[in-house]
């Protein structure tokens, strides 16, 4: 009986903890910090295998944060260059090709610092929280974030399958080899 109760309690706690994360509307919380260390963009590294600190995107598994990212994506005219993920002036974001890496902190760096071939720097215009929200949305476009947290269709013209319908994906060109990543 004790055993069953313990299982039940654990299960209940698990439900609460997991879905809390996904459903949380972080309104007043402290802003997430910028990644302390940038993840290299290239796989090729001289010398012994380098161990890097990959951070999780703080909103990757947060449905509300991802949708806020979606709102910013339109408001900050990201959609002007990257369209609804298919690209245009800028490269597509819904495919599996990542010039500067697909890891949250790599994308954070791409947004915050800009990239030489035309991506502007946003760190003076957006705060960390907003950039992280954009990171989550951008990753959701190509199916890199947990499915349950990705946005469904928008109240706009139907131009592409919603991120929630995009199959889970593995990115290409995404930084370090799996063996070199510390969990």
């Amino acid at each position: 009986m004790m055993f069953i109760r313990r299982i039940a309690t654990t299960a209940a706690l698990l439900v609460i903890v997991t879905s809390c994360e996904r459903e949380d509307r972080r309104l007043n919380s402290q802003q997430p910090a910028a990644p302390t260390q940038m993840v290299p963009e290239v796989r090729l590294q001289p010398g012994p295998t380098l161990i890097s600190d990959t951070t999780e995107g703080p909103y990757d598994d947060n449905a509300y944060g991802t949708t806020e990212g979606q709102v910013l994506f339109e408001q900050m005219n990201c959609s002007g260059c990257h369209a609804n993920g298919g690209g245009g002036m800028g490269p597509p974001l819904m495919d599996d090709e990542w010039v500067y890496g697909s890891k949250p902190d790599q994308i954070f760096a791409s947004i915050a610092e800009g990239r030489p071939n035309g991506m502007p720097t946003w760190k003076y215009r957006l705060n960390n929280q907003q950039i992280w929200q954009l990171v989550a949305y951008v990753r959701s476009l190509s199916g890199l974030t947990p499915k349950g947290a990705r946005p469904s269709r928008e109240d706009h013209m139907m131009v592409k399958p919603a991120p929630a319908q995009t199959p889970n994906a593995k990115p290409k060109n995404s930084g370090l080899p799996g063996s070199a990543q510390r969990p």
């Binding site: 439900v15 609460i16 997991t18 879905s19 459903e23 007043n28 449905a63 946005p151 269709r153």
Partner: protein
């Protein structure tokens, strides 16, 4: 006395001896009693068992909804309060509304019907007991789902009418609104199962002699409401399950204006259900008022036919008013005026019923017992809500009051006055029948007075607040608005209500386990439900009573006429003709089964799973299929020799 529709064929001097009755009762008890043990408990299909589970669950939901309300009132007690943030608050008021409407009010009204309709019409059981159990389990899954979600921070947060596009995929990410849509689905299924059951039961299972004009008014109300459910619930099912959920899950565009969808469609669909919903709660409640008044004034109600007609007209008109929830939307003005007129017309049947009750009291000898007090409380409170309701029918005024605390006040006056007060009266009135014990009158009076005062202190100030500009669903307000003092008062009132309900709960608990034992008919009431033991045995009646008037137990005869001949070795029930209630056939009622629970759980898998992936629907349907097959297998077990009435031939006996 009107002529009887039933031939009384047997000699007039035969009565059944106590020995015979005892033997019959024991045989019936073996046949009808739910199986013991956990498995038997889960397989129970007795309509009283199911209804009791419904009532208790729904009442727990009332408490839960009440706690949510109290928390909201505490947050609003003073301006710029920081007790509950907007996110929690939005979940609270949505869950409060959803709980009170979908998980408390409608189910408990249906549940009262499921308990008492068979008893009041002298039937052994309900038409489809397994379907009934299935309905309950569905509802129960919904209840558990909503509250697990709420504690997992996934409580719905877009209001109990979940207006799109706020509740749509673009503005409500995550699964909060999905939870709402599926909870609604569960309760719809439950309500529809109940409604079909009640319609079939009332139409085909009335005691011999209970022609249409002798049906008790509570049963009439339940019948009318069952029809309303059949036409109203599919609307919200369509809206929430077939439109909102599909918009959110598989990218449909029902409500996406860009691709030709329409946000107003949701409002039309929702209020086409939502307005009748109010009467689905209100009509059973007034059905409870009538027997209470009759019993405690010791008079048959004045204007039986008028009240029946009033119920039916109300039901009809209830479907023609939905637009008065949408006066502030850009819809044509001419249409609005039409709905104003319709909304005012519905006041007439309601007024008529009130005058009939007052007339009954006038002609009778009222005894101010607790149920009677609640009926009086109902009159004071409900009329207030009704009058504000007529005011809100005015397009011009509604545009001012709509979506403000004035409406909050109005709807609580209507629902507490028109639903909860009669329900509390009914609890006191029928508690002895359900439990076999009486509730304490003194506690009851305290409960009543605190409740009446609390209700008015809470909700009356809200009228003023609303007109002073306070919109509903705001989690805070600024001090300069001047809304502080009246809000504080309302909070005090809410706490008073909470106290009164606590008193009731304690009273009920104490009485149930150690209250004064009730007789078979403690109030000397007239209805058939009082013709059997308190609490009623699983088979309800040893022999099916025969009805000669609207008030069988007030008949001046010494004996209760009954029909005999139903088998006691299997669950046999008497089916009568639809209008005259002549005995027509005997029907074998199913016994306990685990399949309703299994099927409800597998449906739960379908609906809850659909939130996460459409594949769950396929898988869940597969699992449900097993349940349906098992159910069907069990329903087609050989049952011995049957007398078959061939459609155009004689009765033949077959195995």
């Amino acid at each position: 006395m009107t002529t009887l529709p039933v031939n009384e064929k047997l000699p007039a001097d035969v009565t059944l001896s106590p020995d015979e009755l005892l033997r019959e009762a024991m045989a019936l008890d073996t046949t009808w009693r739910d199986k013991p043990g956990v498995w038997g408990w889960l397989s129970a299909v007795d309509h009283k068992t199911t209804a009791k589970r419904y009532i208790i669950t729904a009442f727990l939901m009332f408490i839960a909804g009440g706690i949510e309300a109290a928390l909201m009132r505490l947050q609003l007690a003073r301006p710029e309060n920081n007790l509950i943030g907007p996110d929690r608050y939005n979940q609270l008021f949505t869950t409060h509304g959803t709980t009170m409407m979908f998980l408390f009010a409608v189910p408990i009204m249906t549940a009262m019907g499921l308990y008492f309709v068979p008893l009041m019409i002298g039937a052994r059981s309900i038409a489809f007991p397994r379907l009934n159990a299935f309905g309950f389990w569905n509802y129960f899954v919904g209840v558990v789902f909503l509250y697990v979600s709420l504690f997992a921070n996934t409580g719905p947060d877009t209001g109990w009418f979940a207006y799109v596009p706020l509740s749509g995929p673009a503005y409500s990410p995550g699964h909060r609104v999905d939870v709402w849509a599926q909870v609604v689905t569960f309760t719809e299924i439950a309500a529809l199962c109940g409604a079909v059951n009640i319609i079939a039961t009332v139409f085909k299972m009335r005691a011999p002699g209970m022609s249409l004009n002798r049906i008790p008014l509570f049963v009439w109300a339940q019948l009318v409401v069952a029809f309303m459910i059949v036409f109203a619930m599919p609307a919200v099912a369509t809206g929430s399950t077939l439109m909102l959920a599909t918009d959110r899950a598989v990218n449909m565009h029902w409500f996406n204006p860009a691709e030709g969808g329409d946000a107003l469609l949701w409002q039309h669909i929702f209020w086409f259900f939502g307005h009748p919903e109010v009467y689905i709660i209100f009509l059973p409640a007034v059905g409870m008022v009538t027997p209470i008044i009759e019993t405690f004034c010791r008079r048959q109600v004045f204007g039986y036919t008028a009240i029946v007609m009033a119920n039916i007209t109300t039901a009809f008109f209830a479907f023609g008013l939905w637009v008065h929830h949408m006066f502030a939307t850009p819809i044509p003005e001419l249409g609005q005026s039409l709905f104003t007129a319709a909304s005012m017309v519905i006041a007439i049947p309601t007024g008529l019923q009130i005058f009939c009750w007052i007339a009954t009291m006038w002609a009778g000898r009222p005894r101010l017992t607790v149920p009677m007090l609640f009926v009086l409380g109902f009159l004071f409170t409900f009329i207030n809500g009704g009058i504000t309701g007529v005011m809100l029918a005015s397009v011009a005024f509604d545009k001012q009051a709509h979506d403000t605390f004035f409406v909050v006040a109005h709807l609580h006056y209507v629902l507490i006055g028109g639903g909860l007060m009669p329900l509390f009266g009914a609890f006191y009135y029928w508690f002895p029948k359900i439990t076999g014990r009486l509730l304490k009158e003194s506690w009851g009076k305290l409960h009543f007075w605190l409740f009446l005062i609390g209700t008015n202190v809470t909700f009356f100030p809200m009228h003023v607040l609303g007109l002073n500009g306070m919109p509903r669903r705001i989690y805070t307000y600024l001090a300069p608005t001047g809304w502080g003092p009246l809000n504080l008062l309302a909070t005090a009132g809410a706490l008073t209500i909470a106290l009164s309900v606590l008193i009731f709960v304690v009273n009920a608990a104490k009485s149930w386990f150690g209250g004064e034992l009730a007789k078979e008919n403690p109030w000397e009431a007239a209805g058939l439900e009082w013709a059997t033991a308190s609490p009623p045995p699983p088979y309800n009646f040893i022999h099916t009573p025969l009805v000669r008037s609207r008030h069988p137990l007030w008949e001046p005869t010494v004996e209760l006429p009954v029909v005999v001949g139903l088998r006691s070795d299997r669950r046999e029930i008497l089916v009568t003709t639809t209008f005259d209630a002549r005995p027509d056939s005997r029907h074998n009622s199913p016994d306990g089964s685990i399949w309703p629970l299994y099927t409800a759980l597998s449906m739960g898998l379908v609906f809850i799973g659909s939130i996460f992936s459409p594949y769950f629907v396929l898988g869940g349907l597969g699992v449900s299929l097993v349940g349906l097959l098992g159910w069907a297998w069990q329903s087609t077990q050989p049952s011995g020799v049957e007398r078959v009435a061939l459609p155009d031939g004689p009765i033949v006996e077959r195995v």
